[in-house]
Subunit: 347 residues, 2 copies
């Protein structure tokens, strides 16, 4: 058996704490048996949950922390009160110390990113962190980044996002040379913001190993799956992601209302239940749960705070896959090559 | 009978030209009998279509133009070749000359905006133009702007967008004091870009007559209808709109595939056809067709180039309603008041 992937869990994060994180870890272990776990948080609560999952208990070490970052703590408050002592910090620090290969938390995004930056620091050559997410498309899934870590982006940062997103896509999508597009307001070269146009020029003129730049992608192209990786700065990326989620929820509401209107539509719903379940599965946010923090000296995964154990398990598995496949090494090597061949894009 | 609303039509615009624009105008006239039309374009083609619509022919005057702006002309090319002589320019110029109350075109957006800016000029006190669109929501419809006219926005421009969007919402939604939200990446005051935060401060500290500012709205809030008016700069607004359209199309594809899977799901589809038609109606882009150009000295409506006659009719009716209800006057008056009470927001 190969060396197991050591996963550091902030067991206290998320809306439900250990009830979800421990059950989720147990599910993840069943899917990725070569995992071992460091569980940070209230020891009594964690042990109570671990009792229900003996397989996980056998592969886990509990490390007590009395401090849990709250979901509504400001990042600055979380850092002041939780540095070194909170379950969130301790999980990240395990990666820093080399005791774990990846940290996973369902805690609040701002606090997690602030702690990750302070504890792990930025990767050499990368100026600002990003969060990458999976987006369900008509062709399967795409990687979209940045979905909310950094507001605004220079052309060079957009190129770095392309490199980091491609590294993640290689692992998650299993594509050797992922296609990469820049999110823009039009496909013609005349449109859009200067920084996006300049990033496009850099990506065209200096091909980067391991990614195929395909040009601009419009908002409606993401869901069509026109690129494996869609790159944009964090403000627009976050708005796009949440707008898509909102639209999906809106149509789900229309559909639910329409199918319960009268006995005919209720009957139709029963007849076509399999079809509806299939659509529900395709839009299930649990299967795409897990934002990958990129640009740091270590792998940190953010699980959505409101997801259940199945969703949390997906985030843990995502973290496992990233660590197992050497995400950090892939990014480091490509960044080094890209910055050598296009030094002006490095700063 | 009150004075009719005089509508200047670029009959040559859009993917289908007079076949759609003239039929659309005829439908719009049936819905808004107090309309009269100036039809700009190839006289032979227009008269051929007018022959099919005698009621419209009786209320229309044809003005010949041999030049039609192409859908893929760059704005600069369209201006150089089409200024004064194209059907698009002549329709806008009719508004400028006071011969028409509103201009409607399904021609290319960039060219239409460029011509509108040159011909009509900016409204006093407004720095940059915007395009506002209607967005179907769970509560009905909302006005979203800017959906692509101007990239980036100062805090003062975001305040102007709030004023102009509220004026449009008052007319379209029939709400005396529309609620207005600023699109942002989080609801907490700590998040988001500086310009958006500053605009929020301006809107909070200096209440503007005729609008109720409710704070930040996230991407998923638009479709839920949390605000009558959602304000953002043109890059993000365009991405959000197209992402929502793409997501809706994606789910439609899932649904169509799922309902044609086997005889059971096909039967279900037939039984629930009424329900499916209702959902289709709610997401029908034709009923929300028409982007309103704001910030100019005149009302110009952009119809989507690919819409059919029903869609084009919606854009014409939208233009009618804007002109009839004095959109320009409403904006002018509120801008004057707002800039008097908060002079630092004026520039």
């Amino acid at each position: 058996m190969a060396q197991p992937v050591r996963i550091a869990l902030d067991a206290m994060g998320g809306d439900f704490g250990p009830a979800v994180t421990i059950a989720g870890a147990a599910t993840a272990l069943a899917r990725r048996p070569e995992s071992s776990f460091l569980l940070f948080g209230d020891e009594t609560m964690i042990r109570a949950e671990l009792g229900k999952h003996p397989a996980l208990a056998a592969r886990a070490e509990v490390r007590h922390s009395a401090v849990a970052v709250r979901m509504d703590d400001r990042p600055s408050v979380a850092l002041r009160q939780g540095r070194r002592v909170s379950s969130m910090w301790m999980a990240i620090e395990a990666v820093k110390k080399g005791e774990a290969d990846v940290a996973v938390s369902a805690g609040n995004t701002g606090a997690l990113m602030a702690m990750a930056k302070v504890c792990l620091r930025m990767m050499a050559g990368i100026d600002r962190p990003a969060i990458a997410g999976l987006w369900p498309t008509l062709r399967g899934r795409s990687v979209v980044l940045d979905i909310g870590a950094s507001i605004g982006a220079t052309p060079a940062h957009l190129v770095d996002l392309a490199i980091m997103g491609a590294a993640m896509a290689r692992i998650v999508l299993g594509v050797e040379t992922p296609t990469v597009g820049l999110l823009n307001v039009g496909e013609e070269e005349i449109k859009g913001v200067e920084d996006v146009k300049e990033a496009s020029r850099l990506l065209r003129e200096t091909p980067i190993p391991g990614l195929a730049y395909i040009g601009f992608v419009e908002g409606n192209g993401i869901g069509q799956g026109v690129a494996d990786v869609v790159v944009t700065e964090g403000f627009t990326g976050n708005i796009a992601l949440k707008t898509a989620e909102g639209t999906a929820r809106q149509i789900r509401t229309y559909l639910r209302d329409a199918m319960s209107r009268n006995w005919l539509s209720k009957l139709a719903y029963i007849l076509a239940r399999g079809a509806f379940e299939e659509i529900k599965g395709k839009m299930d946010t649990r299967t795409i749960n897990g934002g990958v923090f990129l640009g740091l000296e270590g792998v940190v995964i953010k699980s959505h705070g409101g997801e259940d154990a199945i969703g949390f398990a997906h985030a843990v598995v995502l973290g496992y896959d990233m660590a197992r496949s050497g995400l950090m090494t892939q990014i480091r090597e490509t960044v080094a090559i890209a910055h050598r061949s296009a030094p002006e894009a490095a700063q």
